[in-house]
């Protein structure tokens, strides 16, 4: 669920960046109060572990050919607690952006919120609230499963919302939302299974690591897995159809942001005041308001228009050609200078 730059508008991106920064600053400040010096390397290594863990895959049930891998937010939150877990996963997200170029620079704020902060806290508190009291295998199972599925869904829901608020969504919102929820339901389910299985393994070989969070033995049974799958499918399916029916029709939504038909009444702005407010804000305050000069490219076959179009064709050609020549020129100069230098040396 890595967001790309192109799914966001600048105000939303900067806004989420600011929220993420403030959130992280707050969490770090909070963490500094209780963190012991021996936690530094543990956190760092566990972050790296999350990376490596994503390479270990296993076959998913019911769908041969598909394999799952873990995401790790909830497992880390269970082992390290929500604050440290959120910091570790945030750093993972930042590294994914800065070293592996996964997710855009501008979308970093969204990604930190969606994938690190929200899942860590939601997952941890769901898990804790289910497993409070004396140990029971069933409760641990339900707790971890709920924590993983809901935490990941919560993060995934934010992606279409942020995109919609940015007003860049071409795909109908409801379609996007349902796809995201559906895919991440599977992701969350796999995550839950693997989290539980890892906890079980840890308990078998290094009980001291998970001693605070697991007092008894975790067991995974096939029936429990299938029952969970069924329950979740029904719940999510029902929820989704409710959500979907409340949404404007997919096609209409995409019309809603069509400036080329000024007499078309946008449905969405009636339904969702926040969206329209943000849209409004955006058209007013983005450095480059979006739809200003597009007429020259839209199709009416007026002759004068035609003329404008042809000239627009030439200017755009000139732009592309000029840029291409510039790049070629730069490349030639640099390689010439370099050759000269290496000859001198």
């Amino acid at each position: 669920m890595h967001m790309a730059n192109e799914l966001l508008s600048v105000p939303i991106a900067t806004g989420t960046l600011a929220i993420a920064a403030a959130g992280l600053a707050f969490i770090c400040k909070k963490a500094r109060q209780f963190i012991a010096s021996d936690k530094f390397p543990l956190m760092g290594i566990l972050g790296a572990f999350v990376f490596a863990a994503q390479m270990v895959n296993f076959q998913l049930p019911a769908m041969p050919g598909t394999s799952g891998h873990m995401v790790g937010a909830v497992l880390l939150a269970i082992i390290l607690g929500p604050h440290l877990g959120a910091i570790v996963i945030s750093s993972v997200v930042i590294i994914q952006c800065l070293i592996f170029q996964d997710g855009g620079l501008l979308a970093l704020g969204c990604n930190i919120i969606n994938m690190a902060i929200i899942p860590s806290y939601i997952g941890y508190f769901l898990y804790k609230s289910f497993t409070i009291g004396p140990f029971s295998s069933l409760r641990t199972y339900i707790g971890a499963m709920m924590a993983c599925v809901i935490a990941i869904e919560a993060g995934a829901i934010l992606v279409p919302i942020e995109a919609a608020l940015s007003g860049v969504l071409v795909v109908p919102f409801s379609t996007f939302l349902i796809t995201m929820l559906g895919v991440h339901f599977l992701v969350g389910f796999a995550e839950g299974l693997i989290t539980l299985a890892v906890l079980g393994y840890l308990q078998q070989v290094r009980p001291d690591i998970v001693v605070d969070s697991l007092q008894g033995k975790v067991r995974l049974s096939r029936n429990a897995v299938f029952i969970t799958l069924a329950v979740f499918t029904v719940v999510i399916g029902a929820g989704l159809s409710l959500v979907a029916s409340g949404m404007p029709d997919g096609l209409e939504w995409s019309y809603a942001e069509r400036p080329d038909q000024p007499d078309f009444k946008p449905i969405v702005s009636n339904v969702e005041p926040t969206v329209s407010a943000v849209d409004d804000f955006q058209t007013r305050y983005t450095p480059m308001p979006d739809y200003s000069i597009r007429t020259s490219k839209l199709g009416e076959t007026n002759e004068k228009e035609q003329e404008i179009k042809t000239s627009a064709g030439w200017t755009s050609f000139a732009g592309v050609a000029g840029s291409g020549l510039t790049m070629l020129f730069i490349w030639m100069i640099v390689s010439f200078l370099r050759k000269k230098k290496s000859l001198e040396a």
Partner: protein, 258 residues
């Protein structure tokens, strides 16, 4: 994925590599913001913006093949999104490019703009990352106000990701060397969990050893480091030229092209 693979170009030397990490970071961020907020149907202006990261890449001696390989690696998600545009937006548009004039749909225009923006912003990000050593980027980010705890985390992550990825690869290899059949879901899950578990235990063990190594060198919880960042004249020059590039494109070239 191996060590030297992902960040080898950051360790070269060139005028671009010598610039202050902060400056490069801010310029890249601004550039990305400007490109993202470009109108959604104009492709030609994007090529003008591409000149910027292209120049940095060439000056920094980053092979363009490397950059594009990277872009290909991370593009699937955005590709799917871009390709849905033509499905949902069929408004016909006439496109003129030089002598040619043809009709297509707004959706296709958007699709290509999204991809174009993606490529240009990714080029900028790659230009930033592959001309800046990660440690310098970290010091730069710290100077820009990122909390120290997060910086420390990022440092550790950067150091150990490659090691752990390698050992994950090795474990997978050991499994593949002995795995001939699919043993069924439960067994598969157990094996995967055991592999993850042993990776986790090893991580925790090495965290314990690193902790000893840190304490052996007097670490008591207070993180000290020497900043090697200096804002020099060439940084100013770079900032000015980047600013004038963006400014010029925005106020002079863009109105003509659109």
């Amino acid at each position: 994925m191996h060590h030297a693979y992902i960040d080898k170009f950051a360790y070269q030397d060139s005028p671009i590599h010598r610039l202050d990490g902060r400056v490069k970071f801010i310029v890249a961020l601004t550039f990305t913001a400007v490109v993202v907020s470009l109108p959604r149907t104009s492709l030609s202006i994007l090529t003008c913006y591409a000149v910027g990261p292209f120049t940095i890449l060439v000056l920094g001696r980053i092979p363009l093949r490397f950059a594009f390989k990277h872009i290909l690696l991370v593009c699937p998600f955005i590709l799917v999104l871009a390709l849905t545009c033509p499905l949902y937006d069929r408004t016909p548009v006439n496109v003129a490019f030089g002598l040619f004039l043809w009709q297509t749909s707004l959706g296709w225009m958007r699709c290509f703009t999204i991809l174009g923006k993606f490529i240009v912003t990714m080029l900028a990000l790659i230009a930033l990352v592959s001309t800046t050593r990660f440690s310098n980027l970290l010091t730069g980010l710290h100077k820009l106000g990122v909390p120290k705890l997060l910086i420390i985390q990022l440092g550790f992550l950067y150091r150990y990701i490659f090691i752990l990825i390698d050992s994950a690869h090795h474990i997978l290899r050991a499994r593949d060397g002995r795995k001939l059949t699919n043993l069924g879901f439960t067994a598969e899950l157990k094996i995967a969990a055991a592999m993850l578990g042993s990776l986790l235990i090893r991580s925790i063990d090495s965290a314990e050893r690193i902790n000893i190594a840190m304490q052996a060198r007097g670490f008591e919880g207070k993180w000290r480091s020497i900043s090697k960042l200096k804002f020099r004249r060439c940084d100013l020059l770079f900032t000015l030229s980047a600013a004038s590039f963006l400014f010029g494109l925005h106020f002079f070239i863009k109105p003509i092209l659109l």
